[in-house]
Symmetry: C2
Subunit: 339 residues, 2 copies
DNA sequence: TTGAAAGCGCTAACAT
DNA sequence: ATGTTAGCGCTTTCAA
């Protein structure tokens, strides 16, 4: 069926025919892949313009298994987390500059979903992948890596394999936050953790414990709560903490969403920050200054993480044998007035 | 080159050979496309499992131009805007349920970038597209639509063509916000708009003006500022407003990011909300309650918008001739304490 | 029920 | 400088 509005999707054949040349010549014009007589080139280019011809990327990829598909995969755990959105922006800017398009997959911390998306990415023959694996043992990502797909990990590494990774000093970051609280003379400092199996959660826990110890405070298991890294768990776990017989006087929130959830609970209870309970967050947000009160937080250079990861991935795609690298970035304590 | 870790990507041929059948039979097994002897089927399925064979989606798409690629394109103007992130979540949930993967493209309100991404999406032979066009005349999207690609618009429609669209009552939403301010006896109500060429900006402006008029307030051009829909423009334009000889006593912010930008400026100036200046935002955020002060806002059902758009797109893909639909959703005024 | 073979649109080796 | 052609992995007639 066809009507006057039909934008026929043309192909090499059609262009070649209209231009009176062979499809090989058209291909050469498109890819600047060999000398083409300049008259021929002009003629072909005109036809391409007239027909609004766009080469079919699918065919190109099928044919040219080793050539670039100009497609990068991005696998992130939670699109609702502003941290990952910033990382994504960094990736995207670099990808765009280098003429790569992105297939973004958000697996919502769900391993089944992750597997499905990785299968799709693989069979779409992407050029490379930026991933935050579900944990350090993530077999799905490891298999892909072993299969030769260029991969850069962000936020979380992979154990037992050689892989590029870009992340922050989680332990130091957590230490600086909790140490800051301790120095302000808070005595009962709680930690609301994200998913316990994440390396970042573990490292932040370690920093938390070390800071307590360094300040002669004892680690109270009742003050450490583990959740699922999402907003709702911040709401719930903060509530549990505040209902403790002996509640905390300060809370260290393990990520962005947990912080926002905890704030919600504190405000709903009508408590004052920092008088009734202080709070410090891991992950800064650009609107942290507008929170009530302005949030003191450990800032991760999220945009930068994305940018570096994408740059590294492109380097690796172009030279798969280059040595792998770990890029560990520093965090920064942004002091405002929530503690 | 090959080593013991190589995950050879197998193909139909290999499976067929190992199973002692033809590739056609393997294809039939994979697609349940025709009667296959159950012994043969079992044998083939076993080989597929052993080889961890995944059919190549690229080849499938090339071959089968009319069959599903199970790929949807999503074209959004600004990944930093939490509104679009929520829309995205809605789209993603529906897509996942229906076994579609998403290629997400964030064009950052940049028409050049939009064009590039649309070209890519088209030549990736996606099954359908959810887009928030740059404006109602967006030729890039219109051309794709005319070319027969199933498209659903969100947040912004397209003029002069028949297209499915899911959006909210922008005019009513803005009216309710500004009317609420006027009823609270604010007299100099400013409007910080997003990009003036966006239909949503225009409709919100209209609602703003109508509410003023309905409350016997005159429209003061000096109190209406147009920006680019981003955080930074909220910062700047709010600053301009507050430096006016006769500054506003209340601000209606045209979207999420503008609201956060305006809040930032107000706080940096040390002004009290709502005493010194009141603010009301278009777009609620789930952490609005934790802002200083808790933000009064017009809520758009963002997740729902994404969900409906994706559902409609899938319906259209399965039946391209179905009549187009506009789904206009209601907004809700969430009253907190910023005015 | 199964197999052989054409062809989707493209690139690259080879031929001219 | 340009054309011819094989083949990427798959689905789908058509034949057996």
């Amino acid at each position: 069926m066809s009507n006057e509005n039909d934008y026929k999707v043309s192909n090499l054949n059609e262009v070649a025919e209209k231009a009176g040349v062979s499809i090989a010549t058209v291909s050469r014009v498109i890819n600047n892949s060999a000398k083409v007589n300049s008259d021929t080139r002009i003629k072909v280019e005109q036809v391409i313009k007239d027909l609004k011809f766009k080469p079919n990327r699918v065919a190109k990829r099928l044919r040219n298994k080793n050539a670039s598909s100009n497609l990068l995969g991005v696998l992130i755990p939670d699109i609702q987390n502003p941290f990952y959105v910033e990382v994504l922006r960094g990736i995207e800017d670099v990808a765009y500059e280098n003429k790569y398009a992105l297939i973004m997959c958000n697996f919502s911390q769900d391993e089944k979903k992750e597997k499905l998306y990785l299968d799709i990415l693989q069979s779409e023959s992407i050029d490379g992948l930026i991933a935050a694996p579900v944990n350090e043992q993530d077999q799905n990502v490891i298999n892909l890596l072993k299969g030769g797909l260029p991969i850069v990990c962000v936020d979380r590494g992979l154990s037992g394999v050689d892989v590029d990774v870009v992340l922050v000093e989680n332990r130091n970051g957590a230490f600086s936050a909790v140490d800051y609280l301790a120095k302000l003379d808070y005595k009962r400092i709680a930690y609301i953790s994200g998913l316990p199996q994440l390396p970042s959660s573990q490292q932040r826990l370690q920093g938390y414990e070390e800071a307590l110890t360094a300040n002669n405070l004892k680690v109270d298991k009742a003050l450490v709560k583990f959740g699922d890294s999402r907003h709702e768990s911040g709401v719930t776990l903060c509530n549990e903490l505040l209902q403790l017989p002996s509640p905390p006087d300060a809370i260290f929130a393990g990520n962005n969403l947990i912080t926002l959830g905890a704030l919600e609970t504190i405000h709903k209870k009508g408590l004052m920050i920092p008088k009734d309970v202080a709070i410090i967050g891991f992950d800064d947000m650009y609107w942290s200054i507008s929170l009530n009160p302005p949030l003191t937080a450990v800032r991760q250079p999220a945009y930068e993480i994305g940018k570096r990861a994408a740059e590294q991935l492109i380097l690796r795609i172009n030279d798969p044998s280059r040595p792998t690298m770990s890029m560990i970035m520093k965090t920064e304590l942004i002091i405002r007035s929530s503690c």
